[in-house]
Each structure stands twice: as C-alpha cells, then as structure tokens.
Symmetry: C2
Subunit: 585 residues, 2 copies
C-alpha cells in the first residue's frame, strides 16, 4: 500500500508532451528550469510518499472524530500538515507578495497530484485553503488581503468554503443564511452542511468563506453575498482574539474520505457570527465562480491521483499473487492494468494541458493570447473535473477487481480507493452540473465557436502526428481522427438543436462531456506518442518510451472507439431520455 | 429506503416476453398457472418488502459480529429467516420428495430477485444452502440425501461452500486441506477463507461442503474430493449429536455485505473434523462445477436485484428533492434514471430467459431439446453472472450520483447498494474467470458452434421483430442488428485466432463478455418491445406499455451502440494488451 510518486511519468508529461516548454517562457516563470522542476517534484514526492501516504489507511480506519464539540483529525495528520507548511507547499502557486512560491499551475498540479494520491482526505484541507486564497486574492480589499493572505498562503491558517445548505446544493440561489449589517462588519446566522474541514485541529485559525443574504437582497442567485468569517477573530496586530460565534454541530458518516471532517456548521447561534463582506453585496456567487476553475481542476486531479494510487497497488499485487502463475501474466489482468495505465496517462496529459492554459491565461504578455487561453480553460475545466473524476472511480474499481476476493477486504486498501474516489464526481458541482456547464455555457453560448476552435486544433495536431513514425501507436491517427469526427458531429448537433430544444441538448450533456474527455485524452496520448517517438530517436530509455507507444496504441483500440457510441447517444438518443412521463419513470 | 417488489415488471417479463409460456408446459410444471405465479410473487414480494428489506440498512450498520467464538447475525435476521422457512421459501425449486415446492427456476429467480433486492447480505444464507442442496441432490448417496436434504430443503439447516484457501482462489487446484480415511468417514484438517455464512445463529445446524485432498490424491485439480462436514454430527435417528471439530476463527472486515458473516474456518484443530465423502474420491471439482450454473445465475440475479433497489431509491429521491424544481425534471437526472431502468429491464429479460433454459434443460421430455437447452444455458450463464453483476455496480453508482452529496452520506443508504453490489463481480469466480469460461470453454471448444447458433437465433428474432409495429422502439431493429453483427465479427475473430494465439483471445475475453451481455440484453429489449406492442394492441395499460417501448428505444440508442467499440477492442486491441513487458507494466 506504499505510494511511490510517479516522477518519471510526470516528467514525461511535463517535458515530452511539451507542456513545461509552453509555460517556462511566461512572465514570472523565467526561472522555471528543468532542474528546478526536478527538485520540486523530488521533494513533493518525498513528502507525499514518506510522510502523507502512510497516514492514508490509518486515517480511513480512525476517521476524523467529534467529541465535546471538538473536531480532531486522525493521528499524524497535524504533524504531516506541519511538514507540509514547513516545506512551503501551502503557497506553491501564490504571489510572492504574500509569501507564496509563485510557481505556475502546471507545476502546482503535479505536486497536488502527488499529495492527493498519497492521501485524498488529508489533501482536501490544503485544497480548500487554495480556494480561499484565490477568492481573497481576486476580490478581497487590501486590508483583508493583508490580514488573511499571509497566514493562508503560509498554511498557518486554513480556509473553507461554506456554500451548501440542506435545501441549497446545486441551486445555491435557494440559500437562506442571513447577514445583518453591524457597523464595519455583518452578523451572520445560518446553518451550512457538507463543510469540508469546517473544523479541525491542524491550524491555529480557520477562515470560513461564507455565502449569505443581506436583509434587502433580491431573491435567488443575485442576492447572495460573500463573507469572511474567521473561527477566531483577528486583532489589529494580527494576533488571535476571541472565538467567533460559529461552531461545528456534527460530522457526517460518509462512504469514504473518512479522515476528512465533513461538518455541519452553525453560524450565529448566539449574537451572530462576525463576518466581513468581500467586495460588493450581492456579488457573492460571481466571486465564487471566479475561483471555481482552480477548484474543479484540483478535483479532477484527485481523480487522476486516486487512479495512480490504485494502479500502483494493483500492479504490485498482480506481480506477487500466484494463481496459475503470477496473475500479472494472465491476459485479462494485463488488460485491466493496461486500462488503468492508459486512463491515467490520458488523464494526466489532458489535465496538465489544461493547467498550462491556466498559466497562459494568467501570465501571457499578449492580451489576445491570454483571452484565447482563458476561453480554452473555460471549455476544458468541466471536462477535467468530471471526466477525470469518473475515470478515477472506474480505475479504482478495476483495482479492486485485480485483487479478487482480497479486494473486497478493507485491510487490503483497494476498497478505500474505490470509496474515496467516489466523492470526486459529486464534489464542486456534480458531474451532471459540469456537463450542463460545458454544453450550455461553454459550447452553446458562443454558438460552438470555442468547441469548434478546439476541434480544429486537434485536427491540425492529427495532421502533424500522421507524419511522425510512432510504431505501434500509428493506429492512433485514424482512431483519433474518427473520434474527433464524432465530437464534431455531436457538437454540430448540439449547436443546431441548442436554442430550439434545450431539454434535448441537456439530455446529451453528460455523454457529450464523456465523449469530449475521451477525445481530449486521445489527443494527449497522441502527443505522448510523438514525444516517445522523439525520445526513442534521441536514444532515450528504450523500454520506457516503447511502453508509452504501446499504451497509446491500447488507448486507441480500447477507449477511443467508444466515442462514436457516445455521439450516437447524443444525436439519436435524447428523445428517448425525455419520452417517459415523469410519474412513470 | 423502502423496497416495493416490482411485481408488475416481473410479471411483464414472465408473461409478455413469453417466458412463462415456454416453461409452463414442461413436465412437472403443469400446475404453473398465471394465478399460481401471481400468488407466489405476491407472497414473496410481501416477505421481501415487509420483513427482509427493513433489516438491510440496520444490518449494514450493525454487521455480523464475532465474540467469544460465536458468530451472531444482526438483529432481526434470524426472525426473518424463520418467516422465510415457515413460508416454504427455502425449498422453492427443489423436489417435493424432499419437501421442496418443485417450482421451475424461472419462478425461483423471480423470488430470489426480490429477496436479494430486499437484502443481499441476508439472502446469501439461503443462496448458499441452495448450492449445497444442488450438490447433494446430484451427487450424494441415498443415505446422505435422506439425512441432509429434508433439513436443508426446509431451511432448518443451512449449507455452505468451503472452497477457497489463502493460496487457492481462482486456482482451486492449489488447495491443501487434507482428508484422512477413518472407517466410514474421513478426518478433515485445513483452513478455509472467505466462507460466506460459515458460522451463524440462524439455523440449528450448518452443513459444510468442503473440498480437500485424500492422502494419495494426484496433485492439482484432479486430486480434490468433496466432503460433507456438518457443524453438529447427526445421530442415526436424525437428532443432533456432538459438535464437530470445526470452528470459525474470525470474520473479515469487508467493503459491503457487512451483515453477511465472511468466515475464516478451521477444520480439524483437534482430532480432525468428521467428513463424509460425496461420490467418488478426486471428483470434487467436477461435482462443484455441476452446481455452478445455479450459483452463478443467483449472483447475476443479485446484480439485477441491487440495481432495482438502487433505482427505486433514486427515483423517490429525484421526485422529492428540489433544486431548480424537482430534480427528476432535469434531463441529466432523467438520463441517469433511464439508464438504470433500461439496464434493469434488459438484465431481467435476459437473466430470466437463461433461467427458462435451465428449466427446459432439466425437464423437457425430448432429450435433444434438453441437450440444446443445456448448451444454451452453458453459453449464457457466465454472461448472466458477469454482465449483470457489472451492471449492478454501474447502476448503484448512478444511484449515488442522483443523490448528489446526500448519496455519499451513509445514512441515505445509496452508498450501501454501491458497496454491496461490488461483491458480485468477484463472487463465484471473478468476472475475468467468467469471461475465460465463456471464450475458452463455451465459444472456442466447439469451434464457435453454440455462439453461432445463438447469433443465428437472434437474427431470426430480429427479422420477425421488424414486422412488428413497436412505435418508438422501431429503432431497435437496426441498432440490434448492428450489435449482433459486431458480436458475430468478434466471435469469428476469436474462433479464427483461438487455437493459434490463446493469449490474444483471452485478452479479448472480458470485452467479449460485455459485448455479449449488451447484445443479449438488447434481444431481451426487442422481446419486451414486441410484448408491449401486443399489450397496447390488446388494450392493455397504455402508460405502462408505452414506457416499455420508450425504454427499449433508450437502450437502442444509449447502450447498443457500445457493441461496436467492444468488438473493435477484441479484434484490433488484443496485441496492445500484451505488448508491454510484464515488469514495465
């Protein structure tokens, strides 16, 4: 159950797929050399493998606990967190103005993959803090930034997102928490559910980002404001003051990520919790959406991460376990391992590519290039989130299957990955919400322009790919081409039907997202194959690069052919989704 | 979280798909009237819904317990079991000579579906007993039958299967338990793992069917014998004697089916456990395989069952939960519910069809017809087991997804279905083993004759289907036709490559099984559509039958198109499965 950071594979994705090169020249990234990245990956991998990973199974068994009003994380979690902050990892992607490392997202996601693979439950704490930093950095006042950002960026304090209420999940517009103005602050009252790391013992303070309504706010999503509600109030000198009127009422009993405390939070049971308005009133949802791209990226990365972890464990078991010889020699076990491997490499290539676009959108000197990159990010992010999280579940399930009966026994650890992986398709907007976001906002709103632009770019990539000698992986060009055609066919259909028949297009949204992911993953595999071919030609590690070519060939024949079926489900199958009367369903 | 037995749907499958008609005329089934079946389904549904289902979540939370050497089932389990035996359910499919009801398997699986949907963990106890009865009825001596069968058929005693040892799972030939002759019996020693209901408090006695080696037995699978090892020895007058030298050492901590005690069993820690040889020495594996068809059928049925349970729960939630209106109105939620529904109807139609063939194989007066039916059963059973169990996991996962965040909380119950469902692809031979059985034994061994015969029968069915007016479901004929072509293409490829390249054919075994299942399910949907069309024409319930047509149309456009991709994975993708060196994988 050990985890060995897959540094060679990550380096391959960064280097041989040409991603690091695209980011390294950006303003602020001038010092990003291959050596620096090596050093970062080595250190992150060491922390992940040696400190955080050994807590994964233990944390699952012990879980976070709630006694006498106090939330305690599992043994060792706080120490690992200290090692994490001591290493400066809490601030990897953030401005050096606030103590961050100023590294690009491309490098950040590589580190986040390792931490999440080591321990998803543990990694959720820094993941949420990243979200809070993003929010404050984009929308906080100078004073708010000065007060909170240094402590959040260093990781001394943690951040949380307080969005969901029992009647307001996907529909945040329905939320009821209130915020009454009281001089320089507001008094917040309300109950929030599903608050990840809403309370815990890993940091001195917790900075809650809370959505609530002011007294005269309009109904629905346009009447929601965002507030900073610290667990302990902060004195003008930066020291901690009295405890705020906010507490954890209980922890949820969940299918997985047992070590991540999922809290029911009560705000303002007494006089009201002191909260500080971020930006303008009624702009809360808008602010929240600006940080969603990073949050969704990180959830997609966690799907990749758990898949890698499950793969490593299954591979070791398949070598050790003998049934008619080592089971790794059985073709069906190889097929499962190859499926895991191919999905992982496709996810990594694709998700890291999206991270590179995040960096270009943020840093490129040319505003047109920035804008084009942002459009691409907006298009890809829901796919990264949903497709990678779905693949994570699928791969973790294969991990159980390779273990046979032992996979069903909790002590083995394979089942934990399957349970932990299952949160990602739900978190940060369910995958159904991601699909609606993709189809309604990212594809239809501009009449298919961004999607078509992406499809065109894939077609030129395939053209240049066809000229490369990639051995076994040559089969990719025709298969990827057919899959891109399927994506184009589905896109055209959505655009043609979009305004006239919204229900039909939404009926096809999830198959479309999966289709998109399969194609995007296929494009990443083509880049990997080209990179591997070049590596071979340059005398690189023969076995390593040949295995990359074989994996690309596997993806071409086992995964890409599904694209056509998904396109058919969209173009021919949406009526059947809607045909049955609701009360007969 | 209630369960309402889907009696109308089950009746539809039995009647409108023409299955009951095929079985009702068989010898011994003359009294199987529609009224009788109605009465049986009603009673089984009542027991399942009112008595067994309410114990499901409670049983998961409490689990089976092991204290001071005693295994206790969860509260209420023993009472529910008494209600089950009092109703005569333990003996549904068995000869009246031993007190059974003598009902066909077609009706038995309908009842077993309801019990498993109510509570998979509970239902495993009678499921294992059915296996023991089958074994003894086929291979026991007259005396053994007289001693054990009446009590097993009545359910007063339970049966178990003791196969697996820590080094002998899929490869039973590796097992080490020993049996030393000692007069009229043998003394058994050895340790068995993963013994479902190996010990419990629901019956007065437990009859273990144990695989072990006699002193001079040949190595490997040909040296395994089968023994009856009762927990309490049975006196000549049928009363219970002293406890045998067998005990439970511990229970496993599992991902799901917490209420089903999975035991590590020790035989012969003192003088050796008294065991009675069944049939001949060294024929144990052969005997075991003769009862596998029923056991695998029942595991497939449990996949269907958990899917139905998950669907019912998700449907209720989707009606009640409001996010921008009741979520059942959202196209993507409808798509998920339709996927669940379509898979369930296809599974039920297909699995029940296989059960009808079991009855024909067992009862038909004409020996050629019996033989042909047995060939068909042998072909279909691995598909029923593996495809239905895989679909069960998929549907249970959709059940979680429809619940959003609530689906991840254990109290909701959706997560339990997902955990419970995950055992079925592992149980009774992993799905990988099923796929090998299908390809190597059922398709290749006769040069593709049985598979081709099946494919031909589907083609004639499609021809007659084309002449039927089925409204929306008309799309099925071209889609099913294309899917059957894909199955034929894959079958031909396997037959052509089978002997020359065994590894390649086995690399395609699992995709082939899934492809087979999708096609077989599609054929069942075509039968359902024909039946529904006839029902409409005869003035039957308009909404009910129309919904069946729409569901068939959904299956045609969303599930059947996957067939082609699976065929490609087999014909074009097997080299890629085997390409990478084992130590690089």
């Amino acid at each position: 159950m050990a985890y060995a950071a897959p540094i060679t594979d990550i380096r391959f994705t960064l280097d041989d797929l040409g991603l690091l090169q695209r980011v390294a020249g950006l303003p602020g990234c001038e010092e990003i050399s291959a050596d620096l990245v090596d050093a970062i990956l080595e250190e992150a991998g060491k922390l992940a493998g040696e400190v955080i990973a050994p807590l994964n199974l233990k944390g699952d068994v012990q879980g976070a606990t709630f006694e006498n009003g106090v939330v305690r994380t599992a043994d060792g979690f706080a120490d690992a967190y200290r090692a994490f902050t001591d290493g400066g990892w809490a601030g990897i992607p953030f401005d050096s103005d606030y103590g961050g490392q100023g590294l690009p997202w491309l490098v950040t996601v590589a580190a986040m993959e390792m931490f999440a693979a080591a321990n998803i439950a543990w990694t959720l704490c820094p993941t949420l803090t990243i979200g809070a930093v993003e929010l404050l950095a984009a929308h906080g006042s100078k004073e708010q930034k000065d007060t909170y950002l240094p402590k959040l960026v260093s990781g001394e304090w943690a951040g949380t997102m307080n969005l969901t209420e029992s009647h307001a999940g996907s529909d945040l517009g329905a939320l009821r928490s209130r915020a009454k103005p009281a001089g320089d602050h507001y008094l917040i009252t309300g109950k929030k559910i599903f608050i990840t790391y809403g309370d815990h013992d890993m940091t001195d303070n917790i900075v809650h980002m809370v959505l609530a309504r002011t007294p005269d706010a309009p109904a629905g999503p346009k009447g929601i404001s965002l507030f900073i509600v610290p667990k302990y109030l902060v004195n003008p000198d930066g020291s901690l003051g009295p405890q705020n009127d906010v507490r954890c009422l209980s922890l949820e009993h969940k299918l997985g990520i047992h070590a991540s405390p999922t809290c029911v939070m009560a705000f303002g049971e007494n006089d009201g919790a002191v909260g500080y308005l971020v930006g303008e009133e009624n702009e809360g949802l808008h602010y929240m959406f600006t940080m969603m791209n990073n949050a969704r990226m990180n959830i997609g990365i966690s799907g990749l991460a758990v898949a890698e972890r499950a793969y490593q464990q299954a591979r070791i078991y398949a070598r050790d376990r003998e049934q008619f010889g080592p089971i790794i020699q059985h073709p069906d076990v190889r097929r499962m391992l190859m499926t895991m491997r191919a999905q992982i490499e496709a996810m990594r290539g694709f998700a890291y590519e999206a991270a590179a676009y995040l960096d270009i959108a943020k840093r490129h000197p040319d505003s047109d290039t920035r804008e084009a990159a942002q459009t691409r990010v907006d298009l890809l992010i829901p796919v990264v989130k949903a497709w990678c999280s779905d693949c994570g579940v699928e791969v973790a399930s294969l991990g159980i299957q390779i273990h046979g009966g032992m996979g069903y026994i909790e002590e083995t650890g394979a089942a934990q990955h399957y349970r932990d992986a299952r949160i990602a398709p739900i978190y940060e907007g369910t995958n159904g919400i991601q699909a609606i976001d993709l189809v309604a906002r990212k594809v239809l709103r501009d009449g298919g322009a961004a999607a078509t632009d992406y499809i065109d770019s894939l077609r030129s990539e395939i053209k240049s790919f066809e000229g490369t000698d990639v051995g076994d992986a040559a089969v990719l060009s025709s298969r990827l081409s057919a899959a891109v055609d399927a994506l184009a066919r589905a896109t055209d259909w959505l655009v043609a039907n979009g305004s006239a028949n919204r229900a039909s297009t939404l009926a096809g949204a999830s198959p479309y997202l999966t289709l998109f992911g399969i194609v995007a993953g296929g494009a990443a595999m083509a880049r990997a194959a080209s990179g591997a071919a070049k590596g071979l030609k340059n005398g690189g590690d023969h076995s390593f690069y040949s295995a990359k070519l074989s994996t690309a060939a596997f993806y071409a024949c086992h995964i890409l052919p599904q694209a056509d079926a998904l396109a058919t489900a969209i173009t021919d199958g949406s009526e059947a989704v809607l045909a049955i009367d609701e009360d007969l369903l």
